[in-house]
């Protein structure tokens, strides 16, 4: 994935600004957001960033999953049978890019619980802030693809 962000200004270690005509968006710094998984034998694997997360490369069998945002906030995800974290973003034909959320789909016996971690906030829609978590529920998918990772 192209890691250029032509629409971001004043990028710091914590966040970056995107200036629109009527709106200003504050976003996490996507280069500094990653997951951490811990295994029963003490191993810890840290993900990369929001462009290339590294999720598909980790083995099954971990016991803990958490997300670290560039703001420093750590969001632990409760233990479920399996997880599928999806990065939700939008790409403009002009190359502009906004990271909206990380949607962690968590497998339960009869449904999915979805942990939606907010990655941006703006001055028009002030309902949610960076780091907020919105819980939702979805029906079980027909198939669990190879990107699903199982806990120990």
């Amino acid at each position: 994935m192209d890691k250029q962000l032509p629409n971001f200004k004043h990028m710091t270690g914590q966040d970056g600004k995107v200036y629109g005509i009527y709106d200003t968006v504050t976003s996490v710094n996507p280069y500094n957001c990653y997951f951490i998984v811990k295994y029963p034998d003490g191993r810890v694997i840290k993900g990369n960033n929001l462009f290339d997360t590294g999720w598909d490369d980790i083995p099954n069998g971990f016991t803990e999953l958490s997300y670290v945002l560039s703001t420093g906030k750590i969001i632990p995800i409760p233990k479920f049978k399996a997880y599928l974290p999806l990065i939700e973003c939008s790409l403009g034909v002009d190359g502009s890019r906004i990271f909206h959320s990380i949607n962690v789909k968590c497998l339960e016996p009869n449904s999915l619980q979805v942990w939606k971690i907010i990655l941006k906030q703006d001055n028009l829609n002030t309902r949610f802030k960076i780091g907020d978590v919105i819980l939702g529920r979805e029906p079980l998918p027909k198939h669990l693809n190879k990107s699903w990772k199982y806990t120990s």
Partner: protein, 234 residues
């Protein structure tokens, strides 16, 4: 896994593919190609606008001379009641997944690079339109997607059942809005890259953007907006 998506358009007179930087609707009364960023003053309703596609810092090409194109056999028709023949690379933008896979794709338009507001005259008055189709191909020959991606024209309907999501014509693009049950975007569907040698190629999204009802009622000024592809990946 991470996904890579290219966005390109085809310049027909001096045939070549270019990476797209922006879509411009301005006067047809300039030579093509022209320097990227060139704009011509034109009063709303005075002349039909032309559609130009532009590369960062280089050239822009006039893709089509008018906003209203209901008679060309290979162009998505403006009148929803008109029979639609299909898409043509000469008027369209192609999104191509070149690595990985992405889910819940949605094509829409926002007011600016914040991708967060529809506070824009053209968007809020339902003037931003597009015809869209996504497709892949496993028909036993590699010619069909090549036709779409590299040279000719084809009705995406004929590519079924490889179409994971039905084509839509002349839809309004307005953020994530749904009005009276009608979605103001094209989506949601998944795209997966597959090697051309696998017998299945893709996935692609082909889009023809246009503006509706640019009459004297449109206020004078610049009405920039951004067409975006919204998606998820691991």
């Amino acid at each position: 896994m991470a996904v890579t998506i290219s966005t390109s358009f085809y310049e027909y007179d001096t045939p070549d593919w270019h990476d797209l930087s922006t879509v411009v609707f301005t006067s047809p009364n300039m030579v093509s190609p022209n320097t990227a960023g060139t704009r011509s003053h034109i009063l709303p309703g005075e002349l039909p606008l032309a559609t130009w596609y532009e590369i960062v810092g280089e050239n822009m090409w006039r893709i089509y001379n008018r906003q209203i194109a209901s008679i060309e056999s290979f162009y998505p028709a403006v009148d929803p009641a008109t029979t639609v023949s299909g898409f043509d690379i000469r008027n369209s933008i192609v999104f191509e997944v070149t690595n990985g896979e992405n889910y819940d794709n949605r094509l829409t338009a926002w007011d600016s690079v914040t991708h967060s507001s529809t506070n824009n005259y053209l968007i809020s008055t339902d003037r931003v339109k597009a015809s869209c189709a996504n497709y892949s191909w496993s028909g036993g020959t590699e010619d069909a997607p090549v036709t779409v991606k590299y040279g000719g024209s084809v009705d995406p309907e004929t590519l079924e059942p490889e179409n994971p999501f039905a084509p839509q014509y002349n839809i309004t693009l307005k953020g994530n809005t749904t009005i009276s049950g009608v979605e103001q975007y094209y989506g949601d569907w998944d795209m997966i890259y597959s090697l051309p040698t696998s017998g299945r190629q893709g996935d692609y999204l082909i889009v023809r953007p246009w503006l509706d009802n640019i009459t004297a009622s449109v206020p004078y000024g610049v009405h920039d907006f951004v067409i975006t592809l919204h998606y998820s990946y691991t």
